[in-house]
Amino acid sequence: MSQRWSNLLVWVGTILFVVLVSKAAWAGNEVTASSLLRVLIFALPIAGIYAMSATGLVVVYTTTGIFNFAQGAIGMFFAFLYWQLTAGNQGAWHLPSWIAFPLVVLVLAPLAGVALDRGIMRHLQGQSLVVQLMVTVGLLFAIIGLVNMLWNQDIGRIVNPFFGTSHGWQIHSLFGVIKLNEPILLTWGRIITIISAIVLAIGLRIFLFRTRTGIAMRAVVDNRDLAALTGARAAWLSSFSWALGCSIAALAGILLAPETGGLASGGALTLLVISSFAAAVVGRLRSLPMVYVGALILALAQQYAQSFLQFAGRWTNVKDNALPTIMLFIVLLLLPRAGLQFARVGKAKHPEHVSTVRDTVLGMALLFAVMAVIVQFLHGNNLTAFINGMCIAIVALSLVPLIGWAGQVSLAGLAFAGIGATVYARLGGTHGSPLAILLAGLICMPIGALLAFPALRLQGLYLALMTMAFASLVQFVFFSQPFAIGTDNRTVERLNLFGVHFNSDKSFFLLVVAVFAILAIGVVALRRSAFGRRLIALRDSEAASATVGINILETKLVVFALSAGIAGIAGAFLAMDYQTVSPTGQNFEMLTGLPVVLALVIGGVACVSGALFAGLFSLGLVLIQSNWHLSLWADITSLAPGLAVLSVIQSPSGAVVKIGESFAPYLPWRADARRDAAELKAATAEAEVGELGVERPFTEADVLLVDRALGISNDIPRVPVAGA
């Protein structure tokens, strides 16, 4: 279908959707010019809030290429800092705001941005999208943890708006033509927010597109090496970009803090930015003026719904919570189809070691044996944590083929698990039916395949955002449907397999380990199959894949369906673990799913042992917190995902891969690892690569070594290395 027709279809669908929803949910309020003007006036300050939040996102993305989930958290941190500097009570320092404001926005925030760039972000250059995204997710958690450590959350803090709370522009009518029943005050604080958003939109647009520095910043994102060749100082520009991004985040945090009613906790400020994703995408993450338009559309839609529509029962969450997500979904569908990505000269990748099925079977047998021993020493909460950790490992495993091998970034793994849990609860889980587990997987598969269709249009970040929107819709809309969970919790039983009940925690834990092992073996077998190689080809270059005859549609459909199926099965086991499924979708929320992806990235997104690591990582945090009752641990466990980000920077391919590479040469059956280590040793002992072909000729061995270093082929014949 051509772009034009598909867009037309989306537009018609959207209009139909709006009309049908309006008809069904019409509250009966009279539509007059006055009431419409009120909607507009109500929407303006909210649009300002969304625009301000989204502006920082867009600027950082435009100038660094990184979509920063932590943008709201950074703003929250600086709002706390601003409070610390300005407030005259509770141990704060009572500086005048005319000193504190520029100090925070123009000095401290940019300095923090530079530190962030040098410490973390610079190391993300050339890394995969999922690594970049998850590093910012880790940063989000770390900042929340840091704020909790530094500022006692029991104290109510106020950041006052500029020029007070009750002064501003009293609106009585629109040019005297349309009169309001009651005047509405637009406070100076809100006017400043609206104007700041507009000024930022225009100013940054000019800066980024009309100034040499701005163009250079965008050029560095587009092609760092090429920009450097033309004289752009990439490192300096990167630092400047983050300084600018943090400065805008601080400005947004300080301006928006009064709207959140005080800084008792930074949660509201941190999460506000997520609602503004839709506005950012309207501007395609590039156009700041369009971001403001998007913010206005979103705010108008919300206020229209607030003023004229009623949502109750199963649709209760649509009005506020789901609306930004619905808009994000629609906007993403309207984006032009992504062109085929042609390969660039990328950073050399170390060839992946792909385990054989036999090795995996042995490894999984060993895992089961170890767990069978460990479980004998577990009881109570520790045992429960292990069960939960292994269930999470299965969720993470579902993402390995999709993200790790096919390169399709999905943030909806836990959402599919939630659907699986629901299916299990509805179709036999109340008496532990094994068929219900199977159905959980099977029903999730076509839903996953449906998500593959947007994946044909969208790539990279947009696809990730689409899956995030899907996860939010599952959370806010799916769970509360009568055909899903409805209004009350559903209790489920653990598996009853031909009369064998897995009611005890120990037997259930071993069952989950066994299921993980079987699925892991299956996934590895898939990786070593022709389909697995197609997935890798798809990840490396869709264009090349298409050229050699790989059916992109079919491959994506299958991998999305497969991933959703595994996640659905994981969901069934999570339901058995929790023994209840809630209509609020608790435990399956979109934001709860992000740490699962983060843990997988830390472990290694392209290997099944990375999934196991993800499960163990999450259970490790639980064990630390539940077994050591020190207040310090509470803070450390909040900071842990953020601290773990540092390991991602050190080893983007994953901690498990790094550990594996270190230990593999010592394993008797890993002759290949010993050869690799010897080659590496020999290569590093050689003269510098730069001399190759200049002062001394390439040998066949050199060529093969370079090929391997570039990851050109996974099956290059070994070169006998002297001394190996």
């Binding site: 029943n181 009613g261 506020d320 509360s480 929790y578 608790q586 929320e589 934001l591 917190q625």
Partner: protein, 468 residues
């Protein structure tokens, strides 16, 4: 996590649902009086303890100690320390008990379990408590949605007795209707309840009667704010609002507001107040929702509202510290003595303020939960000839079910604890000059029990009453 954040923001609405049920007290309760009500339970260890051969009759009970667990949402990164006050208060209560002779010739040991705003962690905490504690005391877990683990808990003899739960908060009908769970301040909701469909609610008239007397001739009509993020918060708010309608306070408009709403989101609500010239406004969200509504009302120049109404969820110092002048004249109604009464008003309150170094409203209710446990232990022993080895979970449950007159030494109004029926007696506070000031009744240590008006009983489907 986002949902949990919503839950935090609206959680205390569920406390607001604790609006009393059952019979109203026949006379104004002099909360300070220990005689005639359940007295403070601590005392010096009886002489018989020195001769008694103490055994370990129950899980969590050793010859030297009784272990209880307090399960509370504390360690969530998004809202750290939410119910830390509950944990601290149960520990403080245990110190108070131990300083005064202990219980059943034993010291009280408190284990803490952080449920972290998670159903799973709440379940884990119950599983752990089943194996090491005699009972749960001061439970403050917002996602305590499944009582299966509570009910399947076996006692030391292997019987399916269950784990007694003396809860500070009951958020879910499952917990509210569990025979093992006793709320310090029960909601006025009928049991059993399937979770869907009509339910009968009982709402006291005390605070409304005060308004009618304070503003004679004024026909109250106003704007109601419903916390809309969770079905449980809608379900606990709508009955109160419908009861108010029955009492004569009509709805000008009703708004469903999210716990993540910004102040700007309150502009339409405040515009409705201005449009209808409303003289009454009630916000069902937690204190921060009230702060946002009041600030927006102040900004928009609302002057018509005579009664800004709120329940116990607004009894938070942050209502004043973050609300500032905007929250002046805010009414707040409690079913427990306010800490502002001071140590002189009630000996039990004095003990609480002495032992709890960081007292707060949650802590106060958790302390009352501790006192209910102590009373039940005392009753158990009394029923078994003073035998300190009679304290089993089964006997504790029998004692809890038999506590029909309990007031924690006057810290709460007299209530039928064993029948899960609260009281309609309340204390009215108003924010005046940046402080909570007692306005009804003005005598510290007492409650207004509104003798003349029976509570309103209504049967509604609370979810269907909400129209978004």
């Amino acid at each position: 996590m986002r949902l949990r954040w919503f839950a935090i923001a609206v959680s205390l609405v569920l406390v607001a649902g604790a609006c009393g049920s059952g019979k109203s007290s026949s006379s104004a309760n002099n909360g300070g009086g220990l005689g005639g009500s359940t007295a403070a339970t601590a005392g010096t260890r009886p002489a018989s303890c020195s001769t008694a051969k103490l055994t370990s009759p129950e899980t969590g009970v050793s010859p030297t100690s009784i272990t209880v667990t307090v399960v509370a949402d504390v360690g969530s990164p998004i809202k750290p320390g939410l119910f830390q006050g509950s944990m601290d208060a149960v520990k403080a209560w245990a110190n108070y008990i131990n300083d005064n002779g202990g219980l059943a010739c034993r010291n009280v040991v408190v284990k803490t379990a952080d449920s972290q705003l998670s159903a799973q962690d709440a379940q884990n905490a119950i599983v752990a408590a089943c194996s090491n504690s005699m009972a749960l005391v001061g439970t403050t877990a917002l996602f305590f949605q499944d009582t299966g683990q509570l009910e399947n808990c076996k006692d030391k003899a292997g019987a399916n007795t269950g784990l007694p739960d003396i809860a500070e908060l009951q958020t879910d009908p499952t917990q509210q209707c569990s025979k093992l769970s006793f709320a310090v301040l029960p909601t006025g909701s009928s049991c059993p309840y399937s979770g869907t469909g009509p339910r009968t609610f009982t709402v006291g008239q005390t605070q409304y009667d005060y308004y009618f007397k304070t503003f004679p001739g004024l026909k109250l009509h106003g704007v109601f704010t419903i916390p809309k993020d969770l079905p449980s918060t809608i379900a606990s708010t709508m009955p109160i609002f419908r009861a108010e309608n029955q009492m004569g306070i009509s709805s000008d408009a009703e708004f469903g507001i999210s716990g993540l709403a910004t102040q700007a989101d309150y502009t339409p609500l405040v515009a409705a107040i201005k449009q209808h010239n409303s003289n009454y406004a009630r916000n069902g969200l937690d204190y921060s929702g009230t702060v946002l509504e009041r600030k927006e009302a102040q900004a928009q120049g609302v002057t018509s509202v005579k009664v800004w109404d709120c329940s116990v969820q607004c009894y938070d110092k942050r209502l004043i510290t973050t609300g500032g002048s905007a929250t002046e004249n805010q009414y707040v109604w409690l079913n427990i003595l306010p800490m502002e009464d001071g140590a002189g008003a009630n000996p039990e309150l004095a003990n609480f303020l002495k032992y709890d170094k960081k007292p707060d409203g949650f802590g106060e209710q958790a302390w009352v939960a501790g006192e209910a446990f102590a009373q039940a232990i005392k009753d158990t022993m009394a029923a078994h000839g003073g035998d300190p080895n009679s304290i089993t979970r089964a006997n504790l449950l029998t004692a809890l079910n038999g506590m029909h007159s309990f007031n924690a030494g006057g810290m709460i109004p007299m209530e039928d604890f064993g029948s899960h029926k609260g009281s309609t007696c309340l204390v009215g506070l108003q924010v005046q000059n940046g402080k909570f000031v007692r306005i009804d009744p003005q005598q510290p240590g007492t409650f207004d029990c509104d003798n003349n008006k029976p509570p309103v009983t209504l049967t509604i489907d609370p979810i269907k009453e909400y129209h978004g």
